[in-house]
């Protein structure tokens, strides 16, 4: 059974991030170094593979929102693929549809956080 590979998602990711996901050869260094990999439902290298074959379920993963943008994956990729930018592109595809992933009014004890945490979260999780 041959599955047709859909390049639309990879093209969209390239438009937003300038990164060519087809560079990835699944070595797994990004997932090994990712600090929050244990909390993710799909590992970074799995997400990249899904983008390569055009599986839109990558956009529904929790992983892209747990990503802390620490750049560990980007500096370790042997092919020079900026994985952090790919994650950001997937986030932006959702955010640019007007979907917010953080409800600022529902944060418990919001006044106990320093502004650096709140501004960072607002920037990454809301459009």
């Amino acid at each position: 059974m041959i599955r047709k590979i859909d390049m639309e998602l990879a093209k969209k990711v390239f438009e937003i991030s300038g990164q060519n996901v087809y560079l990835c050869y699944q070595c797994g260094k990004c997932s090994a170094g990712c600090p929050v990999a244990t909390e993710m439902d799909l590992l970074p290298n799995q997400i990249i593979h899904m983008v390569q074959i055009g599986n839109e379920k990558a956009l529904e993963a929790k992983s892209i929102w747990i990503c802390a943008t620490c750049f560990t994956c980007s500096v370790r990729c042997p092919r020079g693929l900026d994985v952090a930018k790919v994650m950001e592109a997937l986030r932006l595809i959702i955010l640019r549809r007007g979907i917010y992933k953080l409800d600022l009014r529902k944060i418990k004890d919001i006044d106990k956080y320093p502004q650096i945490a709140l501004v960072g979260a607002s920037r990454k999780l809301t459009g």
């Binding site: 600022l104 009014r105 944060i107 919001i110 006044d111 106990k112 502004q115 709140l118 501004v119 979260a121 607002s122 920037r123 809301t126």
Partner: protein, 235 residues
């Protein structure tokens, strides 16, 4: 010597074109937007208020012919220009949060509790650009983000809550409600207390002026007229 007709001696008004809701009207130059709309026959019951540039009711957005830029102003204060495409904002949707000022402190945490969207500010400066009162809106929001309530209160003193900033803000902040809270915090907790006011209020509560006021109330029109005529006037 030929007599001129009334028509010929009438001073010629310079007429300019303005567009209200897309329809062209010719109005005399030099009128304000508000007066121009009434000149062509609109009766305004919304989006109009003090007519003196102070209440913030008549926010207007407009463009000029051949210019991509978006301009804003108060209809009662802005003179019409030829080719103005006008849109009046009768109302700006904004929910004001309910808070108890006695329970708050003058710091960033108190403001972010009620208006957490201020953390979404991207410093695009669209708010400052549209302010008809030249308030430095972005700088005020930044001062609040830093916890500098005093600076934000001073910067927003001239705000008339017209709502133009909130309509342009991509982060969906309602600036004037945030500033209202900030100024209240400043007035209650940071501004210096006026000692003679507190003393006078105490005197009033203790009834120091009760007798005099009662006597005055019971005096009657004749007495009032006499007191008024004999009142102390500074030279």
């Amino acid at each position: 010597m030929s007599l001129k007709t009334i028509e010929e001696t009438k001073p010629k008004l310079k007429m300019v074109s303005i567009y209200i809701m897309g329809k062209e009207y010719k109005v005399p130059a030099g009128l304000t937007i508000l007066k121009a709309m009434e000149y062509v026959g609109y009766r305004l019951i919304r989006g109009v208020g003090c007519r003196a540039g102070f209440c913030g009711a008549c926010s207007t957005v407009y463009r000029l012919k051949g210019d991509y830029r978006l301009y804003t102003g108060l209809a009662c204060q802005t003179t019409i220009k030829d080719g103005m495409y006008l849109v009046q904002l009768p109302f700006v949707p904004a929910k004001k949060q309910i808070y108890n000022i006695d329970e708050l402190k003058p710091d960033f945490a108190s403001v972010v509790k009620y208006y957490p969207e201020i953390t979404r500010c991207v410093q695009c400066n669209s708010c400052t650009k549209v302010c008809p009162q030249d308030v430095q809106v972005m700088d005020a929001i930044q001062a609040i983000l830093r916890g500098d309530i005093e600076k934000a209160a001073h910067l927003t003193f001239d705000c008339i809550a017209c709502g133009l900033c909130s309509m342009r803000c991509p982060a969906e902040i309602v600036h004037y409600n945030v500033f209202q809270l900030v100024r209240r915090l400043y007035g209650k907790y940071i501004a210096k207390k006026s000692k003679h006011l507190e003393e006078r209020l105490k005197e009033i509560e203790e009834g120091k002026f009760r007798e005099e006021l009662d006597r005055l109330v019971r005096a009657g029109p004749e007495e009032w007229k006499k007191l008024y005529a004999e009142r102390e006037i500074e030279p």
